[in-house]
Amino acid sequence: MIQLTVNGKTYEVDAPADMPILWVLRDKLGLTGTKFGCGAAQCGACTIHLDGEAIRSCVAPVSRAVGKKIVTIEGLDDSLAKPLQEAWTEVDVPQCGYCQSGQIMAAAILLRDNAHPTDRDIDNAMTGNICRCGTYQRIRSAIHMAVTLKTSAAAVQP
């Protein structure tokens, strides 16, 4: 039995130590928002946060998560999720949508660490996330819009 903390909840899972976190989330815990795209750290569809860092869950064995905090798209904190999701909706980023959980998880870390990313910062942070539908231009403008939304939200805070 392995003890895991996912989105603030504790789980006991019966899984071999080498099972990637992705498949523990999807097949053992039923958290299907995190996607399988390549299984080889190539596409970013499986991006989650492990102790606040964006990682490729398809190649990270579950043993790596013991004693750490996993956050998935289902449990992304509002302060990070809200501006991104609002911007994603406003810009209408998704097409098929399959890559978008991973895109948002990657973008969340970018914006947490860099309040005003340039296009180049965005490219650097997001280049590991493939979108076969080609929504890249909209991802870029949505990230810029999320910055604006975040700043204006902060401005109205008492």
Partner: protein, 727 residues
């Protein structure tokens, strides 16, 4: 093929009451149901297109699947427009598999050919208009006023200062007789069609809540992974399952036609089980596929000739009159679709029914396949269509390969199964865009107009063996092998021409891939037009204007793209612009690409696209699809190639079958030409043009003509020249 929908001949509209009291607008297929005018129906009767509930809900049932193209939203827009619905109360669901949902042109339930909107433009508007008329009639009856005194807005009938929500009227409306031939709105009064409407599926897709086929979970379900032949057409000679069965979590190993399936509690155990499984393969003739030898074979076939698709006048004689002769040969490789969501299919099979959950474009074919395997009647095959994580034609496979395979596994194992493909399975899994070689000899008059045309196209047939074979394969020529070529205006005008097609029968499976034939024919045609322009000493845009002078829609997009891209403005050394313009899936698209070639690396900096797709129902959807097609085309031009060695596909995953990434995405601007023509296709309208626009730009930047794809195999060094020479 000319496509024109005809719903009236085969279907008639009917209305009925929901068990819960709401109104159903349905279309009946004469053979499929009794000709009753009204009656009680269960929720989601397998012919409903629209339901107006008594609970304030308006549900649109979608005969086409959502794979990213936005049809989910577009079909709702059509209904909402005519119904004057409150957009916020609209919900959409995928239709079950049933004859009522057959494509109005293809006569099978299918999403493909970029034709969903053309198929549904009238049918969904009629459903909305009929519901509206009934709701108005119900209100008029209740308040004893004339229908002319009622108007509708935001999901309500308004009579003077009374506002009656549709939900209050739905039960009354359902009891009224079905009106005949309800008029549609005058386009001048459209409030939703042609406006920017946000996609309805976005909220689910940005919160991880959207359910794709991959996300289906059923009680007792096992994950199955299938070991498939290492070479096309390989057969299982024998296998040894003991080691696989020893992996914790592996439950069963079963042989199915074409492979061996490992069933396990979860993906990880199934994958490990399959890795341990030993299969002895009979490779068959597929083992002779070698990409190194392929180009030679293509050329031998081109030398040998083929079946004539066109043959008029005397091209040889006409060449003697030509002022310029242009000869060129273009080669494009096999391509995989690589949708973001790898293939998967969940099946629950019992003695009297088979239920399937998957993302599919071909419900009717899937039903037929499952019926053949299980021996059940087609009506006992139930298909739940889920969101498709991209497709690009991979889930529009005539043989329903991945659905049939899953049904085989369910049948052989007796279990509830979800087959899951890995990315490697997907890249190696066949159903490719066929490789093609197009060879031309064209004679131009002194002004550059083609007067003699000889062409041979070599490549496998996509349509042979499929449902469209009769329509598409004419006298042994698959029209999709030369899609758009012999019908191009400047080719049709040539009196002396011979276009031949040579169709190899290789063991590699080929099938629909985004834009089908146009995915390779436009590259050949628009590279050739560029070469003809250079031979005639003309600017590439001016030359095409001349070629297409009698085609206002082609010239319209060409001029718009040229103007918006700043065509002709000087560029620095090593930079260049390229243009391509072509008709595709009923739309007209021109693209100007601007590239910089620096240190032998191509940077696509800017892409300007003009599209005329008839009535622009969902303008932002059109822009979004076109941006995506541009990225798809750039990936194809720069990177995509499937190769074989001794029958084995040499690519495995995104590291050797790369995709365009965000840092390579150019700045894209898409402009829509206003039009009142019938809706053309969009999803496949621009992929083909992007590729030659890019390679023509590389020529402008470097003087290097790209005749083989992908570009990453082409050395570019030593060819930089002053791009100002070339427009």
């Amino acid at each position: 093929m000319t496509l024109s929908p005809d719903i009236n001949r085969r279907q008639f509209i009917r209305t009925a009451a929901l068990a819960t009291g709401g109104l159903i607008i349905a279309f009946n297929v004469p053979a499929a149901g009794k000709r009753r005018r009204t009656g009680q129906e269960p929720a989601f009767a397998p012919n409903a297109f629209l339901q107006v509930g008594t609970d304030n809900s308006v549900t649109v049932i979608l005969s086409h699947c959502e794979m990213g193209q936005g049809i989910w939203t577009t079909l709702c827009m059509l209904i909402a427009e005519e119904l004057d619905a409150n957009w916020k109360t609209l919900q959409a669901v995928h239709a079950p598999a049933a004859p009522a949902y057959f494509h109005t042109i293809y006569a099978t339930q299918r999403t493909g050919g970029s034709s969903s909107l053309l198929s549904e433009f009238d049918r969904y508007r009629k459903a909305g208009a009929t519901a509206r008329q009934l709701l108005v009639q119900a209100a008029a009856n209740r308040y004893k006023v004339a229908v002319q005194d009622c108007r509708t807005e935001d999901g309500m009938v308004i009579i003077g200062d009374k506002k009656i929500p549709y939900s209050d009227l739905a039960a009354d409306a359902a009891a009224l007789p079905t009106p005949a031939d309800v008029p549609l709105k005058d386009p001048a009064n459209w409030k939703i069609i042609g406006k920017r409407i946000k996609r309805m599926d976005t909220p689910a897709k940005i919160t991880g809540k959207a359910i794709f086929g991959m996300d289906v979970q059923l009680p007792g379900m096992l994950t199955a992974m299938v070991a498939r032949g290492p070479a096309p057409g390989a057969k299982v000679k024998g296998y040894e399952a003991a080691a696989a069965m020893a992996i914790p979590g592996v439950r069963q190993v079963v042989a199915i036609p074409g492979g061996v399936a490992v069933l396990a509690d979860d993906f990880w155990a199934a994958k490990k089980g399959r890795e341990t499984l030993q299969v002895d393969w009979d490779l068959g003739p597929g083992a002779n596929m070698n990409s190194d030898a392929l180009l030679k074979e293509f050329r031998e076939r081109a030398n040998k000739g083929g079946i004539a698709a066109t043959n008029t006048g005397n091209p040889e004689e006409a060449f003697t009159r030509a002022a310029h002769i242009v000869e060129a040969e273009y080669y494009q490789p096999f391509l995989a679709h690589a949708p973001m969501e790898p293939l998967n299919c969940t099946v629950q099979l019992s003695a009297d029914k088979c239920e399937i959950w998957t993302g599919t474009q071909t419900q009717t074919d899937d039903q037929r396949g499952a019926a053949e395997i299980t021996g059940l009647p087609v009506e006992k095959i139930f298909i739940n269509t889920l969101f498709l994580g991209g497709s690009f034609g991979r889930r529009n496979i005539t043989r329903s390969d991945f659905v049939r395979e899953a049904v085989e596994v369910a049948k052989a194992s007796g279990k509830v199964v979800k087959t899951v493909w890995t990315r490697e399975d997907d890249i190696k899994g066949g159903m490719y865009r066929p490789a093609f070689l197009h060879r031309f000899k064209v004679g131009l008059d002194a002004g550059g107009t083609p007067i003699a045309w000889k062409q041979i196209s070599v490549g496998q047939s996509v349509m042979t063996g499929g449902p469209f074979e009769k329509l598409a394969v004419i006298n042994g020529v698959d029209m999709f092998s030369i899609e758009g070529m012999q019908t191009a205006p400047h080719v049709k005008a040539v009196k002396d021409q011979r276009i031949e097609v040579n169709t190899p029968e290789w063991p590699v499976s080929v099938d629909n891939w985004r834009a089908v034939g146009l995915s390779h024919t436009i590259f050949a045609m628009e590279s050739l037009s560029d070469e003809m322009a250079i031979a005639a000493g003309k600017d590439p845009v001016a030359y095409r204007r001349m070629l297409y002078k009698d085609e206002p829609r082609l010239v319209g997009v060409l001029n718009l793209a040229a103007e918006k891209s700043g065509w002709g403005a000087p560029l620095p050394k090593g930079h260049g612009r390229g243009v391509a313009v072509f008709e595709a899936v009923g739309s007209f698209v021109a693209i100007v690409a601007e590239v910089a070639v620096l240190n032998n690396t191509i940077h696509v900096n800017k892409v300007t696209c003009a599209i005329d797709c008839g009535i622009a129902v969902s303008p932002d959807g059109i822009i979004s699809q076109t941006e995506g097609s541009i990225a798809f085309g750039i990936s194809t031009a720069l990177y995509s190639e499937i190769t074989f060695r001794d029958g084995k596909v040499q690519q495995r995953n995104f590291y050797d079958y790369p995709m365009l990434r965000i840092h390579e995405m150019p700045q894209v601007a898409v402009f829509i030409v206003p039009s009142k023509e019938k809706p053309g296709g969009v999803g496949e309208a621009s992929v083909g043009q992007m590729i030659p626009a890019l390679t023509n730009a590389v020529y402008a930047a470097t003087g290097k003509r790209i005749r083989h794809l992908p570009l990453r195999n082409q050395p570019l060094n030593g060819h930089l020249q002053d791009s100002k020479l070339m427009g």
